[in-house]
């Protein structure tokens, strides 16, 4: 489904990704862990097409398409979804209006007729129930004045509405208390299926107790320095990142 090879990217003159290789197959959940500043969020942003980052080398293939050639909205239409670490507040645009526009633009991309108001509302009610988000919240301006937990839940709700084939969660656990974390994880787990893959970017193992990954990769200084299964996450929780850093630094030295 997703094939990243030797991906390099920088912001201004700073190299951040220095050759990432990653294969994600349908239905798999990959966790990307790593110390702060290792490039985890950059990888998530580059996959979603954020212009701040310049791709300087490598390739990304997504369902047979050259992902790097596509505009962010085309990537979304092709099935990529990024849950933001810091969801943006957009005053004056309600979540409902925002999502209706998004869904109908994606339908247009695929040559389908737009959903009418009734169809859209039905879909929305259904999905709001599955991720336990309050209807009233969706009638307000997008994320404006939402608590941290509400913002993250809104991300998961948007994911449920857009039904991506590859969802990238960028530190979705940051700033959440355990109850909010459980609700968010539950929402994600409900969306797991044999056709849908996830890349879960996180600093801590905590989230992975609830969203159990098939693979865990450790990103350090812009490279994946170690890959394993969910046990690797537990090991990191126990021992911290220092041993990985030492291992990686001795190899590159």
């Amino acid at each position: 489904m997703l094939s990243i090879s030797n991906l390099q990217a920088r912001v201004e003159s700073k190299e951040i990704l220095k050759g990432i290789n990653l294969e994600v197959k349908p239905g798999e959940v990959h966790a990307i862990m790593g110390p702060n500043g290792s490039g985890k969020s950059t990888l998530a942003s580059v996959l979603a097409g954020r212009e701040t980052f310049e791709v300087t080398g490598g390739s990304v293939e997504f369902n047979g398409k050259d992902l790097l050639e596509l505009a962010p909205e085309e990537r979304a239409a092709e099935g990529i979804f990024l849950a933001f670490q810091y969801p943006i507040e957009i005053p004056g645009v309600t979540t409902i209006n925002f999502l209706k526009t998004a869904i109908n633009q994606i339908r247009k991309y695929h040559g389908k007729d737009p959903l009418d108001a009734a169809q859209f509302l039905k879909l929305m009610k259904e999905k709001a129930k599955t991720v336990k988000i309050d209807d009233q919240l969706l009638r307000r301006s997008l994320n404006e004045g939402f608590s941290g937990g509400e913002k993250k839940r809104n991300e998961i709700f948007q994911m449920a509405m857009l039904e991506p084939t590859l969802a990238i969660l960028d530190e979705t656990d940051s700033g959440l208390d355990i109850d909010a974390l459980r609700i968010v994880a539950e929402g994600v787990n409900q969306l797991r299926s044999k056709d849908r893959s996830f890349i879960v970017v996180t600093h801590y193992q905590r989230l992975l107790e609830y969203i159990v990954p098939d693979y865990v990769h450790v990103l350090y200084k812009g490279r994946i320095v170690k890959s394993g299964t969910k046990e690797l996450a537990l090991e990191l929780e126990e021992k911290g990142y220092d041993w990985i850093k030492a291992e990686a630094d001795s190899v590159s030295a």
Binding site: A48, G49, R50, E51, A71, P72, E73, R75, A76, A77, F81, L82, F84, P87, I88, I90, P91, G92, V93, F98, L99, T101, A102, I103, Q105, I106, Y109, S141, Q158, L162
Partner: protein, 432 residues
Amino acid sequence: MSILTKIEGEFDSLLHHLNGKSGLAWNRLREEAFENFKKLGIPTVKHEDWKYSSLKGLEKYDYTLSSASSLSREEVAELPFADLEGLQLVFVNGNFSAELSSPLLNEKIKVLDFKEAEKLIPEVLNEYYGKGLDVEKEGLSALNVALSREGAVIHVPDHTTLEEPVVIRHIHATGQEHIRNSVHHLAVIGKNSEAKIVEIFQNIGENSSFTNIATEIFLSEDARADYYKIQDENDASFHVGTTQVLQKDRSYFYAATFTVNGGFVRNNLNLVLDGEHIESHMYGLYIPNGSQHVDNHTLVDHQKPNSESNELYKGILDGRSKGVFNGKIFVRQDAQKTNAYQNCRNVILSETAGMNTKPQLEIWADDVKCSHGTTTGKLDDDAIFYMQSRGIPKAEAIRLQLAAFAEDVVSQIKWEALREPLDILILKKLQA
């Protein structure tokens, strides 16, 4: 011939036409105003209030004053807002057109054109014409008072509601000539009475129009008025307009100014709050692009205690356009317990557009609540990326955000029928 020489000739001919009525108070005021105009002239950037707005471009055109033009009903009906419900008064090149207008209202409530008003209610003109305007300092106000014999005169007696909105349409037929016009509207709303007025400015044709307009609104005790100004003039047009409002105790005034298009626009909105427990609202939206220039000067003069004014202006500037906002708030020593709020927010879409904002608060009272704020910024790139990442193309994301930005002002419109044609006009402009 220079514009000033022309104007002198026009004034002489006006005096001649007034035959015999020149002794009436409002006509005596014309002569006084004209003397002032001769001293003041057309303002230049040397005037503090005109620092960022130059009328030099006027010299490029050889204007004809209020040239009569016969527009057909069909031509007028094709313009936006043609179907707007209400008493329609149509002015073509500054001349009232009875044929294109609704029948005038000459009952208890009067909605007349200026010349009918001179015959039927001279006492109203005597008492109010030109009284609110600063003809001693503002050259173009002085010129307007001196020259205008066209306009709408609205008189609503006490305890009366003018049910139908008054729709004043100014159509500049600039297909052949460059047109100058001088129009003066007067609305006198009696005690506990109510009216709704909209002024619309449009061009048919691409030549220049120079509109010098004054609208005076007098609100008696407990009176209420909603006032809308919608500008959709061409890129060669010049528009200098003053809306002058005098409010008495417990009156309510609401103004919304939408500048969608216009080459050079200067709007003065002056509110004098001569009473207690007055409520005043001022909203504005301007969306210039290309080389359009939009200047909004507002003044709220709190003269007595316990009143409230609230102001929100928003601008979206693209191309090489320039915007100016100058918001004066005076709180006189007597005006304790005044609440006055002012806010001006702008989004700049190009490197070459520019905005000058100047809030000017002068407060002599000590127990007041006043706040003001201005911001000028770019669109939020993060927000655009966020929308794109959900499948919304960039152009649509920008449009959604701009529409949301404008919504704060547009949503304040209380007249549903006005919203639809205005929304279409704004959307069309934002898509350009």
